[in-house]
Amino acid sequence: MKKLGLMIMVLAIAGSLLMGCSTASKGTESEKKMLTVGMELAYPPFETKDEQGNPSGISVDLAYALGEYLGRPVQIENTNWDGLIPSLQTGKVDVVISSMTITDERKDVVDFSVPYAKSYLALLVNKNANINQAEDLNQPGKVVDVKKGTTGNIYATKNLTNATVNALSSETACVTEVTQGKADAFIYDQLTIYRQNKANPDTTKAILIPFQDSESWGIAVNKGNEELLIQIDSFIEEFKAQGGFVELTDKYLKEEKQTFDALGFPWFFD
């Protein structure tokens, strides 16, 4: 008798769990109007948080502008970099605006808008490492740090086959390893390298000269979401035409833009 009771209990629990699932999936129907935007808030000044912990940055402003264009309220979902594409695939977010470079590998699993910005990879090297260009890294005994899943990671695994490549999960860890000499170089985008070099002038050196073609950033949507993608493309055209990116530069990156102009490097939104 006791056993029968137990079984009924197990069934009841399992049943209620299943019921829970089905009601949960119904719940998202009513929120369909909401535009959920996935981004990793760990990439200032594009995706970051202000003092109160609210999302802030260029991509955040861009997301709100997109929401306004589409007439949908915007909700920012802070998601780990590795989790961004899976979030799109499972419908947890509608779009990803997270300074994501359009690559062939990513295009296989998600769809990208027209590019809205471009960037170049750069090197943050340890002062004593005696590295002057990216090619110097491709030899045994050299240690190269990259952030997991970034284009720097892809570049290093493809082109620096003789060096030891460490894929770490945070930018800070990579920079720390370079300042401590645990790694010879960290490959990331120009702007971050420039900023990190300014923050650690005694231990690091920045090599900002582009060593490969520019990378284009796009807004990503789930594969096959044509309707939203067309809207996003026309939004980007309009935003560009109305000088939205110039405004964002003035708001967040005025000083950096001047430095980049002085060095003769192309700007993100040119």
Partner: protein
């Protein structure tokens, strides 16, 4: 002691119950995956078999190495905690309290980037084993201390009355009883070591979790990757758990370890 009647359930009952549990668990998983329209395709993992195998081996090697080092640390600090020299006792207690009271992730960053750099430990694998051993050593220390405390004082009285020297007492009384009592708990701790080693991925130790994160960055099939790797960890820990069950049964009979654990 209370005697319980230990009637073995019938084979049919066992089989039916096992099938029932399996159906509920698999059904729940299947329903969940289906309800969000997720299509799982594990075939993409096949091309990474070499890296997965190497990561699996690295996890096993790191776990076993950490088990031995943490046993040494745990034994020394367990004895140290009861030391009459207060400095040693305080040192060991502080170690156990601090390590058990802080997250492993914090310890990994702290030991690798601060202590490791200061003392010139640059090899990630050596650092990884040392950090994991320091962490697990604190738990093993407590297991051993508990085991020592559970030994009946009468055992020592008997030992003295039959004229055993302190060394012989340790060898013939303390160690055999202690081993019997703590072996199952130690085996459980070993399963923890295996799982905790996954956190070493944050300092780019290329073990199973780091491997699967690198693969996820490559094929974007996060769910398949993590489910698969979860199964691999489970195979390891389930093996340890079975082994622990064997130990428990063996020593249960001789020392009635059950009533203490």
């Amino acid at each position: 002691m209370k005697q319980t009647v230990n009637k073995e359930p019938s084979l049919a009952n066992k089989v039916v119950s096992a099938i029932f549990v399996a159906v509920v668990l698999i059904g729940f998983l299947w329903f969940s995956v289906n309800s969000i329209g997720l299509e799982l395709d594990f075939s993409t993992l096949y091309q990474y078999r070499q890296r997965l195998w190497e990561g699996f081996l690295m996890t096993v090697i790191i776990s076993i190495a950490s088990l031995f080092v943490s046993l040494v640390i745990g034994s020394l600090t367990a004895m140290g905690q009861n030391s009459r020299i207060l400095i040693i006792s305080y040192f060991c207690r502080a170690y156990v309290q601090i390590i058990r009271g802080t997250p492993l992730l914090v310890q990994i960053y702290f030991f690798y980037y601060i202590i490791g750099t200061a003392w010139g430990v640059d090899n990630r694998y050596v650092a990884g084993v040392v950090i994991l051993s320091i962490f697990e050593g604190a738990y093993i220390s407590e297991i051993i201390r508990g085991g020592l405390a559970s030994i009946d004082r009468q055992q020592y009285e008997v030992a003295r009355s039959i004229g055993l020297t302190p060394v012989k007492t340790l060898q013939l009384v303390t160690v055999p009883i202690l081993m019997a009592r703590i072996l199952p708990a130690l085996a459980g701790q070993f399963a923890s070591i295996i799982k905790d080693s996954s956190l070493l991925s944050v300092i780019a130790v290329i073990e199973l979790t780091q491997t699967v994160q690198e693969i996820s960055a490559d094929n974007f099939r996060m769910f398949e990757n993590y489910l698969f790797v979860g199964a691999l960890y489970f195979i390891l820990t389930f093996g340890v758990s079975l082994f622990s069950g064997v130990l428990e049964r063996r020593y249960n009979h001789e020392y009635r370890v059950n009533q203490y654990l």
